[in-house]
């Protein structure tokens, strides 16, 4: 099991001939991900270290039957690439690209939702199911298979917590980087719902940050719908209001979206929240040890 990506993943990489696209497609393949095709318009018929390249996702679909796409094309073309993947019948789209206009994402989100397509990102590090598949840029070597599902709006902060967990001897089922943009395809609740349904996942760590109110909504979801214990961590406790802190979505608007409000919402629903990544990892390790 695990969620979103696993041994059944058949990956097509949109933008495979770009520098970053190629590097990470091959790194994902080296990890064991089944990379079946790449797409770069105009380069159909070529190959990238044995991965066949097609002009369109439709062509790739006809020949290699991918079920998942990783989007690595530049921001100006990324929205188009997502529509193309969905049009070709791809079920899961993982978009690494940063800088897609928010209005494009609004339309994409409302387009894919009724079609049952899973979109992770944009502006995200991807999804890793240790020992099974890695789709994206997450450095897999710092993670190990185990019972903890990890969902986060931040890439490197996820590595930080994952690394601390691994050092404490606690492995992970799946690591989902949902991305730092205002509109993302997979919300905390979407990921939590999947972790709840995944038999391999027994504990969940949710890493949030300032901006928006997804963490508050997730708190209500955890209280009402989850049986598995969740530990939280929220970054940006000292962030000033009105400033975009690196991620387009990480901004406190007025009094909304503060780390304090999110932490309180989680704690009010019985979720334990670490005040720093190390403490959050220890809280999880304690839970895991207690369940052994």
């Amino acid at each position: 099991m695990a969620i979103i990506v696993d041994a059944a993943t058949r990956l097509v990489v949109q933008g495979i001939t770009g520098r970053e696209g190629q590097f990470h497609a091959l790194r994902n393949r080296d990890y064991g991900t089944n990379v079946v095709a790449g797409v770069t318009p105009g380069k159909g018929g070529e190959a990238v270290e044995g991965v066949p390249v097609f002009d369109s996702v439709r062509d790739a679909m006809a020949e290699t039957k991918p079920n998942t796409s990783m989007v690595f094309v530049p921001a100006r073309f990324a929205a188009d690439a997502i529509y193309e993947a969905v049009d070709a019948g791809i079920e899961t789209v993982i978009c690494i690209t940063e800088g897609i206009p928010a209005h494009d994402m609004l339309r994409i989100y409302n387009y894919i939702r009724p079609r049952g397509v899973t979109l992770v990102g944009p502006n995200c590090p991807g999804v890793l199911s240790p020992g099974k598949a890695n789709v994206g840029i997450i450095p897999a070597e710092i993670f190990s298979p185990g019972p903890v599902g990890l969902v986060s709006r931040s890439g490197t902060l996820t590595y930080q917590i994952g690394n601390e967990l691994t050092q404490l001897g606690v492995g992970q089922s799946t690591i989902v980087g949902i991305g730092g943009d205002p509109v993302v395809g997979t919300s905390f609740i979407d990921a939590l719902e999947r972790f709840e349904a995944d038999p391999e996942t027994r504990f969940v760590v949710m890493v949030g940050e300032i901006g928006g109110s997804e963490e508050e909504k997730a708190a209500a979801f955890i209280a009402e719908r989850m049986t598995k214990p969740v530990v939280g961590y929220i970054a940006g406790r000292t962030a000033p209001p009105g400033k975009t802190m690196g991620h387009a979505g990480a901004i406190i608007s007025g009094s909304a979206g503060t780390a304090k409000a999110k932490q309180e919402a989680l704690e009010a629903r019985g979720v334990r929240v670490g005040t720093n990544p190390t403490e959050a990892a220890r809280l999880v390790a304690d839970l895991v040890a207690g369940a052994r």
Binding site: S154, N163, R237
Partner: protein, 379 residues
Amino acid sequence: MDLYEYQGKELFRRFGIPVSDGRLALSPEDARQAAQELGGAVVVKAQVHAGGRGKAGGIKLAASPSEAEARAADILGMDIRGHVVHRLWVEKASEIEREYYLSVTFDRGEKKPLFMLTTEGGVDIEELAATSPEKLARLHVDPLVGFHPFQARWLCFAAGIREPAEQKQVIAIVGKLYETFVSCEAMLCEINPLIVTPAGEVRALDAKVTIDDNALYRHPDLAELRDLAAADVQEQRAREKGLAYVKLDGDIGILGNGAGLVMSTLDVVAQAGGRPANFCDIGGGAQADVVVGALEVITADPVKAILFNIFGGITRGGEVARGLLEALERIGIDVPVVVRLDGTEAEEGRRLLAESSPANVHVESTMLSAAERVVELAR
């Protein structure tokens, strides 16, 4: 990117939303001339990216051109919540019968544009939403279907706007505001207040527009509206170098890779009793020259110590170490630098630092110990 009121009103005018006639003024003389051209009483309004201008004394009524000149002299150079006033908007004074509030914004939770309309204008909308939600008409628009007039009618009735002539004007403004929102790829278009004059005319008395930075490449005319003089000099330099940088008020420089990790680093430094001077994210896959550039920006602030917190994914520890060593040589950093490297090529980076072992570089193995060390060294 936030627009000034006068820029927002210019957009409104372009899309057919009624606004008052006005002029931009950069000096008291400009203001006098503007008042002369406009005729009658005028309002002199500070143009800054901050709320609460009126309370801060940044909005004044002037009955004559000479009075406009005097008020302009008072307001120019004023500091409103850390923003110095360099521009004024001088517009014809309006008679106000009633004040409403109208906005369309991104509802991040619903992933749809959200309209809000209330007849309780000129108020803090967050407060109204919390205390009297029934007074606030809210309506989502499906971005795939777009806006339709029935939605504006519904908003009007829900907000209690029933007078036919007035309703007709508000309905038109709602439609045009949506057009502005979508055409300009705004994150927020807010009219607070939307006024009704004694003659029954509905008009935007203020304009708050925020444009999506990621969409500016499609709107070169809007991108040009950015006021480079208003941006913090360092934030401007950092933007040119492709760094995400935010100036803060402490004395410990913070550099890391990835927005979440840098935010978390600020928090941990604060927990250890320190005060971060900035937020600086070198992003993913940064080469040595980006690190040098980031250090140039950070050391332009009066920092007592610097913390490097790098967890390499696509960023390689070796590159970061090379950048740091190069910066030490090129820009001569004499404050202590605490370095924590983990992830991709972290060993290579630590080896490089150990080999040249500059006296002011301190390597720590964890994020928490690095934070404690840098706070200690900044004392």
